[in-house]
C-alpha cells in the first residue's frame, strides 16, 4: 500500500502536479503538528474558492478591469506557489500576462484552463496525502 502511494506520488511529481514546495510542507509536519499540511491545504482551498468566485463574477460581468483581475491573480499565484500547486501557478502567470497586454480572450481561455488544473490538484490531493497519518473524512 505504501509503495502504491509512493508510486502515485511520484507520478504526480513527474506530471508536474506537485513540486519541491509540497515536499517542504511535508517536512514541516511532525508528530507534534501532524495536520500541518492538511491545515495549509484547507486554507488554500478557502482562498482559491474565493478568488475563483471573484474572477468568475468579474469575467461574467464582461467588464475587464485588468488591473483588478491581475491583483486577484497575484494573490492566487502567491498561495499556489506556497502550497506547491505548480500547474495552477503557471496558469496564473499566463493569465497575468494576458492582463498586462489587455487580452480579454486570452484571459478567459486561460482561466478555464486554470480552473481545470485547480480541480485536478484538489482531486489528486487526497491521493498524495494518504501516507500522512489517518486521513479524516471530508466532503470537499
Amino acid at each position: 500500500m505504501q509503495r502504491q502511494v509512493a508510486l502515485i506520488k511520484q507520478s504526480l511529481f513527474d506530471q508536474g502536479y506537485l513540486d519541491d514546495q509540497f515536499m517542504e510542507l511535508e517536512e514541516l509536519q511532525d508528530d507534534a503538528n501532524p495536520n500541518f499540511v492538511e491545515e495549509v491545504a484547507t486554507l488554500y482551498f478557502k482562498d482559491s474558492a474565493r478568488l475563483i468566485n471573484n474572477i468568475d463574477q468579474a469575467l461574467e460581468r464582461g467588464s475587464f478591469d485588468f488591473s483588478r483581475l491581475d491583483s486577484y491573480m497575484h494573490q492566487f499565484k502567491g498561495s499556489s506557489t506556497s502550497i506547491g500547486a505548480s500547474k495552477v501557478k503557471t496558469e496564473c502567470t499566463t493569465f497575468r500576462e494576458y492582463c498586462r497586454v489587455g487580452n480579454a480572450e486570452g484571459c478567459l481561455r486561460t482561466f478555464q484552463q486554470l480552473k481545470k488544473e485547480h480541480a485536478t490538484w484538489q482531486d489528486r490531493r487526497g491521493l498524495g496525502r494518504q501516507h500522512v497519518g489517518p486521513s479524516k473524512e471530508r466532503d470537499k
Partner: protein, 190 residues
C-alpha cells in the same frame, strides 16, 4: 536553587541554537496571505523562534505602537528581534512598512527582511537601500530562516555575553549569594 541554574546554562553552551526562553528570537511576521502566514509561522516555530503573525502593515505598526500619528517612539519594552514582511500587500506595502520602521527611534535597529514572490531587481535594490537586512524570494525556505536565525543569534549571543560580564563586574563585591550564582555562570561558559 543555585544547582538548578547550572544544567540549563550548560545546555545553552552545548547547543547555541536552542536558547532558554528569554533568549528565543522573537520574530514579527507580516503577510496578507493566510496560506503564507501559516507557512512562515511554521517555518519560524520549527526554527525555535517565538512568532507573532499579523495580516497587514497597519497591524504591524499597531503591534509596535507606531500607529499613532507623529509617534516615532513606540512600545519601547517590546522585544522584537526580527521583522519579516511581505512586499506586496493591500493598503500599506512592505516597503512602506520598512520605511516607517527605519524612521522610528525605537525600532530602526531591528533587522527587517522583505519577502516577495517576484524577482524584480529595482524592487530588491530599493528595499536594500532603505535598510532592509535581506530580501527573500518566496517560497521562503527553511534554510533561509535558519540562516537568518543563526546570524541574529550570534549578535544576540554577543550582547547577552556582554551583559552577563557587565553584571558580574557590577555585583562581584556586593552580595555573597550573587557571587556564588555568577561563579556558576563562569563555570558553565567553559
Amino acid at each position: 536553587m543555585a544547582e538548578v541554574l547550572l544544567p540549563r546554562k550548560m545546555e545553552i553552551a552545548k547547543d547555541p541554537s536552542k536558547f532558554g526562553s528569554p533568549h528565543l528570537l522573537h520574530v514579527l511576521a507580516v503577510d496578507d496571505s493566510h496560506v503564507d502566514r501559516k507557512f512562515i509561522e511554521r517555518l519560524l516555530r520549527v526554527s525555535s523562534c517565538k512568532v507573532t503573525v499579523v495580516d497587514s502593515a497597519t497591524r504591524a505598526l499597531q503591534y509596535l505602537g507606531l500607529d499613532v500619528k507623529d509617534k516615532s517612539v513606540g512600545f519601547e519594552d517590546l522585544k522584537v528581534n526580527l521583522i519579516m514582511t511581505d512586499y506586496s500587500m493591500p493598503g500599506m506595502t512592505g516597503y512602506e512598512l520598512l520605511k516607517k520602521i527605519k524612521e522610528s527611534s525605537a525600532f530602526r535597529d531591528i533587522p527587517v527582511v522583505v519577502m516577495s514572490s517576484e524577482n524584480i531587481l529595482p524592487r530588491i535594490d530599493r528595499c536594500l537601500e532603505e535598510g532592509a537586512e535581506d530580501f527573500l524570494l518566496k517560497p521562503v525556505k527553511l534554510s533561509d530562516v535558519r540562516r537568518l536565525r543563526d546570524s541574529l543569534m550570534k549578535v544576540e549571543d554577543l550582547s547577552f555575553t556582554k551583559s552577563v560580564k557587565k553584571r558580574e563586574l557590577e555585583t562581584e563585591n556586593v552580595y555573597s549569594l550573587d557571587s556564588s550564582v555568577h561563579s556558576q555562570l563562569k563555570r558553565a561558559k567553559i
